[in-house]
Each structure stands twice: as structure tokens, then as C-alpha cells.
């Protein structure tokens, strides 16, 4: 009986060969798992169809230079090829993706795959760039010498895909014989000799070194002085752009929120349900959704930087700096990704060869203020500066916040690295892809995926938590007119009273303490909680400034009449949020990547404790100094 299970093909190739672009071209919207900042750190599976209508499972494997298992990436590739990854069958055929301009370097992996006995097809990618640079390619000759089908393609333009699918028709070609293998010679050397001869024959280079546009750009961007200035400039512009461009759409969202709340209030009689909808759901979820424009912009910039090739240059420049922290430039991308979300950042550490460096990077990743903290920062910073959003002062303060988190992280990394001790030398090596115009379809898909996850999260987790918080602050009810008494009587008021002594030395009151507690479920909930907890302080219904929450919180007073939130307590609050680790999913990923829960628990305890004491120190020192 013929098997109806679809055959599995795997995509293998060097990093930057264009495997993932090919994968997207083959599977289109059928892919199941997304990539992070262009680095495939896990298996992506999808489906495609041959011209004859047969279904094929496609596995996109991490880019690697050889099958030697010198890094976790390569180990995953080897495991996948051997069929050792649960949930994925051993591939029936391997499509080796190679950069046509780089065959001398990319063919080694192809030969190793053939040696392992897999039927192979060689996809020669980026043939357009190769031809343009004067390379003389002879796919026919390559195919003859290698014994496998060779298909020239241009994955980012969708060219050659049909021909590639033709080569994938059933029955699959047989595995080729590794003709270069000689019984007693060193396998590396015989591969190298074969590749050299083959390239001289079928991939002739007119001139070994050419001054390309990328080289000219690198002369400037990697310059020891100008390169750095440009790098810092780029980083600051990215920050500033995110925070100023987003202000207009944020205003729209806020107006929409106000309209919606007003409509509901006018359509319903006063009562608990109305309160649930307006003060619970709309306020709670709105307090998070309003930051969607910023999230979108942040992911957009990260995608742009990575896609254009600039990220690799940044890693090169940062290597020297990161060495002071005991890290290498390879840790730059994971840490930079952590500014968006620590989860993919932690996973991206698989490209780091040194196990100890990897652990340290994972440990400090949460201190790269992730995007979930942005709603909290955006609530507090304008209050601190008494200004509207979008000003350069705010960007500067935000830059300082990020800088503080980053610097502390590096200090801790340095200490931790020393304590872990040196390891078997794993050295810095990095390939710089040529600069290229950003691949918009890829970036937009990436941004859409991540932004949609953010919205979904708001619609589910945040919605649920807002409802529960509303209940906690409404019940048990209190007969009487005084709103603050009613709040004190409710469940959350009582929790707040219990917490108050613990957080008072930090400059917070019971309500803020409660909001902080709730934000351990998800940081954005802090805003929702503040919106709900402070609603009874509302004295003015006209929304003059942009945020209802900020107005109310700023107007909040202590029992003795002094303002609740002085600049000092706001700074103390900011410091707390910079350092607190409040994301259970991150801890789960850390536990998995570090290999044990001990690391995750230790990280949580350390960071929580650090946050508390840092906040304490800031507030108490400030008070001593008279602020």
C-alpha cells in the first residue's frame, strides 16, 4: 500500500544564503512558526505543493557552516537531519541553498550533506548578483560533477521556484556518490581540493577582490571613529523616531477610547455592568492598546536594521565594548532583540558558541527593557516632565532609562562571567552580509505577526485581568457616598492596606503597591490597574490632557493632602520597573534554554530583590538629600 504521508524536505545552507527567503517563497502563508530578527533559531515547518499537486513538508533548518556540531545551531541541524527532533520526520531529501557568489565557501556543507547519504538538490541562490559581479556560472557542469540536480534561483524575486519544484517531483533523485572521498586522506582536505577544482571549472571569478558598494559603505560605517558616531546616532534616531512618530496614532486611539466610553455611558443606566464595561474593560484594555503604534514602530526598526545588513556591523563595532562585560559581539543581536521582547532574544543566544557566555547573556537579557515596559514608562515619564509626549526631552529620559538597565546588566554580566570562569576558547567570527535594500514583504510580515500577538494578548490576558481587577476594586460594596471609603472597603483596598508598609519606604502607597503586584502577571497590567484603582479620584470629567490615567494619578493625594506622586517617587517607580522581572513566559524560556529551572528561579529572585532595593535606595537617598 503506498504511503499517503507527505514526504519531508529540509532546507540546509550557510547563514545568509537565503534559505528563509526560499522557505517563504515555497510555503507562502503556510508557515507555522516565525523567525526572530532574521535569525532562524528553531525549526520552521511549512507545506508546499509540487507542480503535480503532491504535498511536501518543508523544514527550514538553522543556517550553519558545517555539520560539525560546534554550536547549538549546528547540533539542531544535525538532529533534524537524523530525524531526532520529535514531531519532525527524517527528511527524504535535502535542498541545499547556496549563495552563487560564494560557492567556494558554501559547497563544503553541500558535500557534507551528500556524504551523509541524502538525496540532494542544489539551489543556487542570488544568481542575479553573481552574474552582475562578473562571475561565470555553469550550473550544468556543477550538476555533472556533483551528481545532483542544480537549479539556479533568485528566491527574493520568486524566480526559479517552479524549476526547483520540478526537481522535487517524485520519485526523488537518488543519493549521489561522494566522489571526492579518498579512503586515507583527511576528509576536509579532499573536500577542499574538490571544491577548488570545481569552482575553477564552473564558477569562475574574474577578479578575486572587488570594491563593491558594500565595501565602500563599510569603509565609513566600520570606521573606528566615524563608525561609532554613526552607530550611536542611528540608535538614538531609532529611539526618538519611535517615540515621536507614534504620538499621532496614539491620539486617535485615545479619542476612540473616550468616544466609546461616552457612548456606553449614555446608552446604559448607571449600574455595575456599565461600570464593568467603562471602568474595567475599556479603561483596562485601552490603557494597553494605546501603545500599539510604538510596538509596531519598534519591531519595524529592528526588522529594517537586520534586513539591511547593518546589524552585523553593529555586532562588529560592539564587540570591543561587550568584551568589557565579558561578552562578545555575538551577544549583541540577542540583547538587542530583547529590547523588543526577551523571549526571542533568549532564544537567539543559540548562535553564541561559548556555553558560559550564553548563560550570562540569557541571565541579563530581561534587563534590556522590553517593549512590555513601554506602557509603564509612557505613563510615568510625561508625569515626571509635565509635558506632552513626543518631545525630545522624553526621548532623552527614555534613552537614559534604557541606558541604566543596559549598564547595570553589563556590570552584572562582568561579575557573573568572572565567577563562571573561562571556557575552551570560542572566538569571535562573523560574516557580514552585503548591504541590501530592506526586504519589505518579510519585514511587514514579521511586524504584523508580532503586533498581532500584542493585540491578541491585550484582548485575552489583559481583558481578563482587567475584569478581575475591576471586581476586586468594586466588591465588597460599601454603603455610603464617599468613593475613597468604598475603595478602602473593597478587596483590593484591603490588599493595598496590607502591602502599604512594605512599599512605603519606596515612595509608593498601597494602591500603587497593588498595581505593581498585579503587574507581575503582565507588566502592561500596571496601567490597567492604575486606571481602575484611581478612578474614584476623578474630579474632572473633561479630558484636557492626553491620558485620563495620568491626570488622575497626578491629582492623587495622600490622606494628609500632599501629592502622592512626587518626582522622586516617580523615579523610584521607574527604577523598580527597569529591574523587576515580571514575565512568567520569559522565565519559562530561560529555564528551557539554560537547561534548568534553577537558573530561572535564581534570576527571578535576584532581579526582584534588586528591583526592590534599588527603588528603596533611590527613594531614601533622595529623601535624605531633601527632594
Amino acid at each position: 500500500m503506498p504511503h499517503e504521508a507527505p514526504s519531508t524536505i529540509a532546507l540546509v545552507g550557510n547563514p545568509n544564503a537565503g534559505k528563509t527567503t526560499l522557505f517563504n517563497a515555497l510555503t507562502g502563508s503556510n508557515q507555522q512558526v516565525g523567525n526572530y530578527s532574521g535569525v532562524t533559531v528553531s525549526l520552521t515547518a511549512g507545506e508546499t505543493f509540487t507542480p503535480h499537486g503532491k504535498k511536501l513538508r518543508v523544514l527550514d533548518l538553522p543556517g550553519c557552516y558545517s555539520l560539525r556540531a560546534s554550536s547549538p545551531d549546528e547540533q539542531v541541524t544535525i538532529d533534524a537531519l537524523e530525524g531526532r527532533i520529535p514531531g519532525h520526520a527524517k527528511p527524504d531529501l535535502v535542498v541545499c541553498v547556496a549563495d552563487a557568489s560564494n560557492l567556494e565557501r558554501h559547497l563544503s556543507l553541500v558535500l557534507q550533506v551528500i556524504e551523509r547519504g541524502f538525496p540532494c538538490v542544489l539551489a543556487l541562490n542570488m544568481v542575479d548578483a553573481a552574474e552582475k559581479s562578473g562571475l561565470r556560472l555553469d550550473p550544468q557542469k556543477l550538476s555533472e560533477e556533483l551528481g545532483i540536480p542544480v537549479v539556479p534561483i533568485q528566491a527574493n524575486a520568486g524566480k526559479g521556484i517552479v524549476q526547483l519544484k520540478q526537481a522535487l517531483r517524485h520519485p526523488f533523485p537518488n543519493a549521489a556518490e561522494p566522489v571526492w572521498k579518498t579512503p586515507d586522506a583527511d576528509p576536509d582536505a579532499s573536500r577542499q581540493a574538490f571544491i577548488r577544482d570545481l569552482c575553477a571549472l564552473a564558477a569562475r571569478r574574474p577578479d578575486v577582490h572587488q570594491q563593491t558598494t558594500s565595501d565602500r559603505l563599510d569603509a565609513l560605517l566600520l570606521h573606528p571613529i566615524y563608525g561609532w558616531i554613526i552607530f550611536l546616532g542611528v540608535m538614538f534616531v531609532v529611539f526618538w523616531a519611535i517615540f515621536s512618530f507614534a504620538s499621532v496614532p496614539m491620539g486617535w486611539i485615545e479619542s476612540l477610547q473616550g468616544l466609546l466610553a461616552g457612548w456606553v455611558e449614555n446608552s446604559m443606566a448607571e449600574g455595575d455592568l456599565r461600570s464593568l464595561i467603562v471602568d474595567g474593560v475599556i479603561a483596562g484594555v485601552g490603557g494597553v492598546i494605546i501603545f500599539l503604534p510604538q510596538i509596531i514602530l519598534l519591531f519595524l526598526f529592528i526588522g529594517l536594521l537586520e534586513s539591511s545588513g547593518y546589524m552585523a556591523r553593529a555586532a562588529f563595532l560592539m564587540d570591543g565594548v561587550m568584551a568589557r562585560a565579558g561578552l562578545s559581539g555575538k551577544a549583541f543581536l540577542p540583547l538587542f532583540s530583547s529590547y523588543a521582547c526577551a523571549i526571542p532574544g533568549v532564544m537567539a543566544t543559540r548562535t553564541i558558541g561559548s556555553a558560559k557566555e550564553r548563560l550570562v547573556t540569557i541571565f541579563i537579557a530581561p534587563w534590556m527593557s522590553c517593549s512590555a515596559r513601554l506602557p509603564v514608562y509612557f505613563l510615568i515619564v510625561p508625569m515626571l516632565l509635565h509635558e506632552q509626549e513626543g518631545s525630545w526631552k522624553q526621548a532623552l529620559v527614555l534613552f537614559a532609562i534604557y541606558a541604566l538597565g543596559t549598564l547595570t546588566a553589563f556590570l552584572v554580566a562582568k561579575v557573573l562571567r568572572k565567577r563562571l570562569g573561562p571556557d575552551a576558547g570560542s572566538h569571535f567570527m562573523l560574516e557580514m552580509p552585503p548591504y541590501r535594500p530592506p526586504q519589505w514583504s518579510y519585514i511587514l510580515r514579521h511586524v504584523t505577526d508580532r503586533s498581532w500577538s500584542f493585540v491578541k494578548n491585550a484582548g485575552t490576558l489583559i481583558l481578563g485581568l482587567s475584569i478581575l481587577l475591576w471586581a476586586l476594586s468594586t466588591y465588597p460594596k460599601h454603603d455610603g457616598d464617599d468613593p475613597s471609603e468604598a475603595l478602602a472597603h473593597s478587596a483590593i483596598g484591603r490588599i493595598g492596606a496590607v502591602i502599604e508598609p512594605v512599599v512605603q519606604p519606596l515612595g509608593f502607597d498601597g494602591r500603587t503597591g497593588t498595581a505593581i503586584l498585579t503587574s507581575f502577571a503582565a507588566r502592561e497590567v500596571f496601567n490597567s490597574s492604575m486606571a481602575i484603582l484611581f478612578r474614584v479620584e476623578e474630579t474632572d470629567d473633561d479630558v484636557k490632557t492626553r491620558s485620563l490615567i495620568r491626570d488622575r494619578v497626578a491629582a492623587a493625594k495622600r490622606p494628609d493632602g500632599t501629592p502622592l506622586f512626587t518626582p522622586l517617587s516617580l523615579i523610584s517607580l521607574l527604577v523598580f520597573y527597569i529591574y523587576a522581572l515580571q514575565c512568567l513566559p520569559t522565565s519559562a524560556v530561560v529555564a528551557r534554554e539554560a537547561g534548568s529551572w534553577k537558573w530561572a528561579i535564581g534570576q527571578f529572585l535576584f532581579m526582584s530583590g534588586f528591583a526592590y532595593f534599588a527603588s528603596l535606595a533611590v527613594y531614601q537617598t533622595g529623601r535624605l538629600l531633601g527632594f
Binding site: 455595575d272 521582547c341 491578541k456
Partner: protein
Amino acid sequence: MSWQTYTAIAIVTLTLLIFLIRFARPKKSGHCGHGCGCDKKHE
């Protein structure tokens, strides 16, 4: 207690139940709230 209060309390109870169930059962798809795909078992 008006119908509004009853409805509100019903919604709250439902929400609480959903949370408890999700917490007790190991999450099937998507360990992370932020919807990033994770590798199937690494070991």
C-alpha cells in the same frame, strides 16, 4: 441587586474560571503570551 449587578458578577466568575482552568492545564499551543513560536523539545 439589579440585573446589571447579576450580569457583572456572572462575567467576573466566568473570567475567574477561565483563568483557573488555563493555569491548571499545561498550555497546549504557544507557551508565551506574546505569541512567539518556540522550538519543540530541544533535548
